[in-house]
Amino acid sequence: MFSPDAAFGSRDRLLPAGVPFGFFAAALAFHAAGWLLLLLGGEALLGFRGGPGTVLAALHLFTLGVLATTAMGASYQLLPMATVRPVGSARWAWASFALAVPGIALFAAGLALWQDVPAALGGLLAAAGLAVFAALMAVNLCPGGVAAPEMRVVRHYAWGALASLAAAAGLGVALLCDLRLGFLPDHASLAGVHLGLALFGFMGMLAAGFSTILVPMLALGPAPSVRLGHASAAAAEVGLAVLVAGAFLPGPWPTVAAVLCGLAAVALHLTAMRAVLKARMRKRLGTAFLLIRVAWAVLPVALALALLPALGIDAFNMPTVFVVLAVFGWLLTFLFGVLQRIAPFLASVHATVPGGRPPLVSKLTPERPLKVHAALHLAAVALLVAGNLFNVEALARLGALSGAGGAVALLIFAFAVRRRTLAAWRTALSNTRSKPGDLACST
């Protein structure tokens, strides 16, 4: 496998290309599998309230399979670049892949068919993979690297994300065991806490933390406000702590307080991001930032909808609409916006050989599949929401079909990037071998 580590004979901060791209490939496969399971699974897509079956399996393919694996691949690659400290061990990064990816597949299969042994085994494997990831990231985040104020914000978010991951994973294992053993006092309430910790704690705080690095980099804007970053992370942490406490307290008010803290965190984060984009140098931001902006617009709406079930308002399939908006409308939309920018960026870096011309990112990036994916993905979110609001199963199914189409477009994009990157790398390698003098391109 090509990589600057091999090509430049150095151990800097980039892992072998197979590590991040392995996770990204798994995420795209799980993404397609999730939509297909929703489309063909046979269960109703309206008013989902939890419980084993194809819808719960698909939900975990999207959350664990797509969101968590992409977060792992991106974190392994991006966090060391920002902290200027290499990941402790590429082998352990591979170990987290080898545990998590088959584990997620087994877990989803177990949930879909409700076979509790595969589900439990898969869940434990996935949790072990996430634990290895969390340990590697925790070591990388320990003080001793960059002390810049902006990096302290990233660390603040990342520690919150890792704590949420530990809590969500532990609770997830307990919920899985409870399906068979029935020992938890209030399964539904703890499932809500698990969902909140996984979506808003782990993924949300990781997304917000990386946004403070990636959004200025991709838009060529100024650094976001450090004060707003710390305030947003702190508000989110208070909200998540109140959410957990609320599972053990009577009445809806702890959940309401948690959501209000979350909304405050979102307002602070989006204020910081808006300032970055307002002062950016790069004016044309393309399809990726269309998705990122849509995701930012959906986030407060999704969070506000969490208030309704807490207050006992249960009309229009609101709990399902909340999950659709949080998972598909916010997190997946944001993730694919970022991924379609950083994947070709990383591919170009990895395809560069000493003395060779780095490939142009535009030559590695087929634009049409990205536009098709964006249109189909946004249509899928709208149709799933409309189907649930108006209680029309056919609309929701059409949404799943649209999502599956978007997943195919993303796979076409990924294969094209891979093919073009390998071709560029081979060309650069043969050109430099035919011109050995160029290899001495140092100062």
């Binding site: 150095s10 920002a82 810049a148 870096v349 060779g356 535009s362």
Partner: protein, 168 residues
């Protein structure tokens, strides 16, 4: 753009901003004109080309030269050889496109117009220059400035800042 804790980091960042302003104007001109050569007698097209030729003549070579001769050796000594080699490879790819576009723009500015063939050639080199340079700046803003903040001590920071200032 992060890691503004070092003096040399801030100076390189300011250079990036000046280059980006010129590149954004050039990018907008290329997008607006398509295959049609612009009117160079006055207005934003002339300003954009003049700014671009100035950046190519005065900034890009100086910036790259400083990094390769003074900054990268310090970073290599701190264990960042892979990153510096990657950035040098990018310098080698950016410079030919920048110089070709700059030369064609300077000729057109002197003549007062592009002929269609020269505009096509200019647009091709300029698009490559814009993309490569923006990509390069993105990478430097995220990776290089972080490495400077983490690995360049105060004494080296002051020395590098003085050296860069002397080149201006």
């Amino acid at each position: 753009m992060l890691h503004m804790t070092s003096r040399i980091g801030r100076m390189l960042h300011d250079d990036h901003l000046a280059t980006l302003r010129a590149l954004e104007d050039l990018d907008a001109l290329l997008e607006r004109q398509g295959d049609t050569p612009p009117d160079l007698t006055a207005g934003p097209a002339r300003d954009a080309l003049a700014a671009m030729t100035g950046i190519v003549r005065d900034e890009v070579g100086r910036h790259f030269g400083f990094e390769e001769e003074h900054l990268f050796p310090a970073l290599r000594a701190a264990g960042q050889a892979g990153m510096t080699q990657l950035l040098i490879s990018e310098h080698r790819a950016i410079l030919p496109a920048a110089e070709a576009a700059g030369a064609l723009a300077a000729q057109a500015l002197a003549a007062g117009a592009f002929d269609p063939t020269a505009w096509q050639a200019f647009a091709e080199h300029a698009r490559e220059f814009v993309e490569r340079e923006m990509f390069h700046i993105q990478k430097e803003e995220m990776g290089l400035l972080a490495a400077i903040a983490a690995l360049i001590g105060p004494d080296d920071d002051a020395r590098l800042a003085e050296t860069f200032k002397a080149l201006t």
